[in-house]
């Protein structure tokens, strides 16, 4: 009697633990039936490619959420990093330099700037203990203004060398898009770092109880710096891939991305309150959102319905996860 009951609970827990995965499979099956073209290799490669761009950021976002922090300025950073690379390309080639060289320098500059801003966020947050929500809301404005000023508010198309464009448009063996490869490699790195290194565990610890972590001799600032810099660098990388994909750089890109990426991480099971989350889950979240967008577009659903569905899925996943946590206790 009792065993049967326990087992039932265990079963329910197991289902709830994998509810995102299950929902994903169900949606895929439904889409397959509704639109046979959905389940083709090329469609999947396409949808994964698009998902990967935001997915790259979502990895950083997962880490920063696990640390109990947040970054709202990733969208501006995406736009800015593309603009920086393009501006280097434009001005340096005008001055007679090689486009490839210019591009590499631009990439270095954009990484540097991303790291600088990440460090700045971490330093301010750590020193004054201001909620990161509001710090990054402020720098979001700054980065946006910076991007516009740098490119003198003209979009800059086609200022990338071929190999850079490959980052967005190229495909390994002509079939797997590079953005997907980049995302998967970063995902692997994130996974190992978060689950199997002391850096990762420090990040979990400061998210779960910062004071306890500090008293245990964990370098809290270092852990914070790692997540704040990582998320900005992820955004910069995504900015390159995005610009390479659309062969254009524009400071107005990616305004809604911070929320989209947070949504992906949350649907994947990361908590907004810090201390718990799963890098694996974010992978699922990224794929789920990409499949949804792709599927609803294939089915030619109205954008408004798409918004409603997205809201409902987010709400639903929140409720399921809360229910699961209750059951577990």
């Amino acid at each position: 009697m009792k065993i049967a009951k326990l087992d039932q609970k265990a079963l329910r827990l197991m289902i709830l633990n994998h509810v995102t995965e299950i929902v994903l499979v169900l949606i895929c099956v439904a889409l397959w039936i509704a639109a046979p073209t959905f389940m083709t290799w090329s469609n999947w490669m396409n949808l994964l490619r698009s998902g990967s761009v935001k997915g790259i950021i979502a990895l950083g976002v997962t880490m920063i959420l696990i640390a109990g922090k947040i970054d709202l300025s990733t969208g501006s950073q995406v736009a800015l990093s593309g603009v920086i690379v393009a501006v280097f390309g434009k001005h340096m080639t005008a001055a007679g330099f090689d486009l490839s060289l210019a591009c590499v320098l631009g990439m270095a500059a954009s990484l540097l700037l991303a790291a600088l801003f990440g460090t700045f966020h971490a330093a301010i947050q750590n020193k004054y203990n201001i909620p990161p929500f509001i710090i990054t809301l402020a720098t979001q404005y700054l980065l946006f203004g910076l991007g516009a000023t740098i490119c003198n508010n003209y979009p800059i198309p086609n200022m990338f060398p071929k190999w850079f464009v490959q980052l967005g448009m190229g495909r390994l063996f002509g079939t797997i898009p590079y953005p997907v490869i980049i995302f998967m490699v970063l995902w692997g790195v994130c996974y190992v770092v978060m689950e199997h290194t002391t850096t990762g565990r420090s990040i979990y610890a400061i998210g779960g109880n910062q004071e306890a972590a500090r008293l245990s001799g964990i370098n809290v600032f270092k852990a914070k710096a790692v997540v704040f810099v990582t998320v900005q660098v992820c955004a910069a990388l995504a900015g390159w891939v995005n610009s390479a994909m659309v062969m254009n750089a524009d400071w107005t890109y990616a305004k809604d991305w911070p929320m989209d990426c947070i949504t992906m991480a949350i649907i994947g099971g990361t908590s907004m309150t810090g201390g718990s989350g799963r890098i694996w889950g974010t992978l699922v979240g990224v794929v789920l959102i990409s499949v949804l967008i792709n599927g609803m577009t294939i089915l030619n659903w109205n954008i408004y319905i798409q918004y409603i569905v997205r809201g409902a899925i987010l709400l639903g996943s929140l409720l399921v996860m809360t229910y699961r946590d209750k059951l577990r206790d």
């Binding site: 508010n153 659309v246 107005t252």
Partner: protein, 307 residues
């Protein structure tokens, strides 16, 4: 009347076309010897209002504006007019706006029609008239619905008038400039039989051309653009491009003429357009039929943007 005074020029979003209007404003002001203040409402009607009020209070004699909305912007402008400021409009035809000193627009519906009329024979030759055309449309209904709907509505009207039948095999509203790769890919995945891809803005066109090419549909699909831009011009010039044509709204001229109208009205000089009326500037079609013309546009663009 005094010879020199202040006017203001307002654009409404953060985009290349508006940059052209702005350039037009500034050049006209320079040519006519007046000072001009420039504002951008960033796609928010509340900002627009704030700008208008601000300028009025600063004592500008006139405002040239590309309003946010043909309906919503007019009460605020009327208020400004009632306070003694002349209003000239560019880019859209303002409704209920007998107070303006003149307007210059390329009308979206007419432009759409012009594109339709231009493309109809081309499409007839390529696909014949017997079967319905399989049209996919990407629009910005979720941002500025009036404009967006006019742009594709006009195109479809013209096709119907020419005697085509068509199916809309896919239609999506995009809310952003950068997320369109997945949208267009999915549209074409869901509608693999599509043969005409109609874009309502240059940002869409650039992506659509890329996607059509990478999906290997460049022989099957004829891409029609709307608005001109550096990237789109480049795509027209490419070998074997699926992009057939696009329509340039002469934004620079619109901006230029709006300020010119404004200044001349204030100075009491002869003007091109009567008060309360709106002049339509014809859209200019750039197509693969005339590549040197496209090249010369690009050259002009570079000259302008390096100003």
């Amino acid at each position: 009347a005094e010879d020199t005074f202040k006017v203001a020029g307002i654009v409404f979003k953060d985009e290349f076309t508006m940059k052209m209007v702005q350039q037009g404003y500034q050049d006209a002001a320079k040519d006519l010897g007046v000072e001009i203040l420039i504002g951008n409402s960033m796609g928010d009607i509340a900002n627009e209002q704030q700008l208008i009020n601000g300028y009025v209070d600063m004592g500008v004699k006139g405002i040239a504006i590309t309003p946010y909305s043909e309906e919503a912007s007019s009460p605020m402008l009327r208020e400004a007019y009632d306070r003694g400021v002349q209003i000239a409009v560019a880019n859209i035809k303002l409704k209920n706006a007998d107070f303006i000193c003149g307007g210059f627009t390329s009308q979206d519906r007419l432009n759409g029609q012009k594109l339709g009329e231009f493309m109809a024979p081309v499409l007839e030759e390529r696909f014949g008239k017997e079967n319905p055309l399989k049209i996919a449309i990407i629009d910005f209904d979720a941002a500025i619905p009036e404009q967006s709907k006019a742009r594709y509505g006009g195109f479809l009207d013209a096709l119907t008038a020419y005697g085509f039948t068509y199916d809309i095999v896919a239609q999506q509203s995009s809310t952003s400039k950068q997320d369109n790769v997945p949208i267009i890919e999915a549209m074409l995945t869901g509608a693999p039989d599509c043969n005409v891809f109609y874009n309502t803005s240059a940002a869409f066109t650039a992506i659509a051309v890329q996607v059509v090419k990478t999906m290997g549909l460049d022989k099957q699909i004829c891409v029609v653009g709307y608005d001109m831009g550096e990237q789109v011009a480049g795509q027209l010039l490419e070998e074997g491009t699926p992009l057939y044509c696009t329509l340039e709204q002469d934004m620079y001229t619109m901006g230029y003429k709006a300020v010119e109208q404004l200044v001349k009205t204030i100075r009491g000089e002869e003007t091109e357009c009567k008060p309360g009326e709106t002049v339509y500037l014809a859209g200019i079609i750039h197509s693969v039929q005339d590549l040197p013309e496209v090249q010369s546009w690009l050259d002009r663009f570079y000259a302008l943007s390096s100003k």
